[in-house]
């Protein structure tokens, strides 16, 4: 009911997860990252594909999880195209 419905992609080590969901006028993204004793959750809305792609490519986690980020980017772009 309240959790954004969409595609969730989690890293193999379970430390990072992205949820991408269609939203009114764009795409909603949640990024969860576990760092030792902390958990960071980011919630943001993208109104266009260009800003979403730019965000994916600016994510520092791309270095550690290149395939995950590529998949997130691909899934997000598919949502914009749908």
């Amino acid at each position: 009911m309240s959790k954004p419905q969409g595609i969730t992609r989690t890293s193999a080590d379970g430390l990072v997860a992205y949820t991408i969901a269609p939203a009114e006028g764009g795409v909603h993204v949640e990024r969860v990252r576990h760092v030792s004793t902390a958990r960071y959750l980011l919630s943001a809305r993208f109104h266009d594909e260009a800003s979403f792609t730019r965000w994916c490519r600016a994510d520092g986690l791309r270095l550690e999880y290149p395939f995950l980020l590529l998949e997130v980017e691909r899934n997000g772009r598919a949502l914009f195209a749908a």
């Binding site: 009911m1 309240s2 959790k3 954004p4 419905q5 969409g6 969901a21 939203a23 009114e24 006028g25 909603h28 993204v29 949640e30 990024r31 004793t37 902390a38 958990r39 960071y40 959750l41 980011l42 919630s43 943001a44 809305r45 993208f46 800003s51 730019r54 965000w55 600016a58 994510d59 520092g60």
Partner: protein, 255 residues
């Protein structure tokens, strides 16, 4: 929804519609069940207050060893990467202020003790040239705290007239937004862990310091049943024991 940026904060705050518009933002928020709408709701609320960009951060002690930071952005989302980078190297003065105060403050009023204001310089690149930090204090023991930051790309926007009305309304909106966010997370926790009313009652007893014996007396159940139930709840929540389970439920405002 698009809102016209007012000429000045005084213009926005002196409008007869100002308070009513903020109240409508709260109304819309309350009727919205989807946590995925958070960024949109935040952006709408900020615009109604006369701000252009906003971020809301919530900090909650989920377990004894785990602290959760939730960041909702109604601005360029690449801000979060830069923010993470800067706050790893420098203290987050905005959050530090918010966690130890209750009154809204302009970022320009925060002392840097002579150090370069790296955070404000960075924030300005993302539309927070003029910023107000609105602390969100915990409303109950162990409940989350946080801050709402409202910004404008115009230097000195929050320095002029209208600030007093703005801070009163911003405070109310910050509390409402935060409560909305936490309540959605709480519902999600209940749903994901399949917790029932009886489970929450038990966690409430634990949170208030009742032992197994007293709980079993009050509920008319055997001690072994109480212990078994606690063990099942802890397992469902993925925490090591009943104290941790109660703390987590309290952090999400369920108790």
């Amino acid at each position: 929804m698009h809102y016209l940026q007012p000429r000045s904060l005084a213009d926005a705050a002196s409008s007869t519609e100002y308070l009513a518009s903020a109240a409508r933002a709260i109304d819309e928020m309350r009727s919205c069940g989807d946590r995925g709408e958070a960024a949109q709701l935040l952006g709408d609320a900020a615009a109604r207050l006369g701000a252009e960009v906003a971020l809301m951060m919530s900090v909650m002690q989920e377990t004894e060893s785990q602290l959760a930071h939730h960041l909702v952005l109604a601005c360029d989302p690449t801000w979060c990467f830069e923010y993470e980078r800067v706050c790893q190297a420098h203290a987050d003065r905005w959050l530090e202020y918010a966690l130890s105060h209750t009154e809204p403050i302009r970022a320009s009023e925060l002392s840097t003790d002579g150090a370069p204001d790296v955070l404000s310089e960075l924030a300005a690149r993302f539309g927070f040239c003029s910023t107000v930090i609105v602390p969100i204090p915990a409303c109950r023991r162990a409940s989350p705290r946080g801050m709402l930051c409202l910004g404008s790309s115009r230097q000195g926007y929050f320095e002029g007239d209208g600030f007093m009305a703005f801070r009163v309304v911003a405070r109310a909106v910050a509390m409402e937004l935060h409560e909305w966010w936490i309540s959605r997370l709480g519902r999600e926790l209940i749903q994901n862990a399949s917790l029932g009313e009886a489970d929450l009652t038990l966690l409430g007893f634990e949170y208030n310091g009742y032992g197994t014996k007293e709980i079993s007396r009050r509920l008319g159940l055997r001690s072994a049943q109480i212990d078994f139930r606690f063990s099942r709840i802890s397992k469902k929540l993925g925490v090591p024991g009943r104290a941790a389970a109660a703390r987590l439920a309290a952090a999400y405002g369920l108790l």
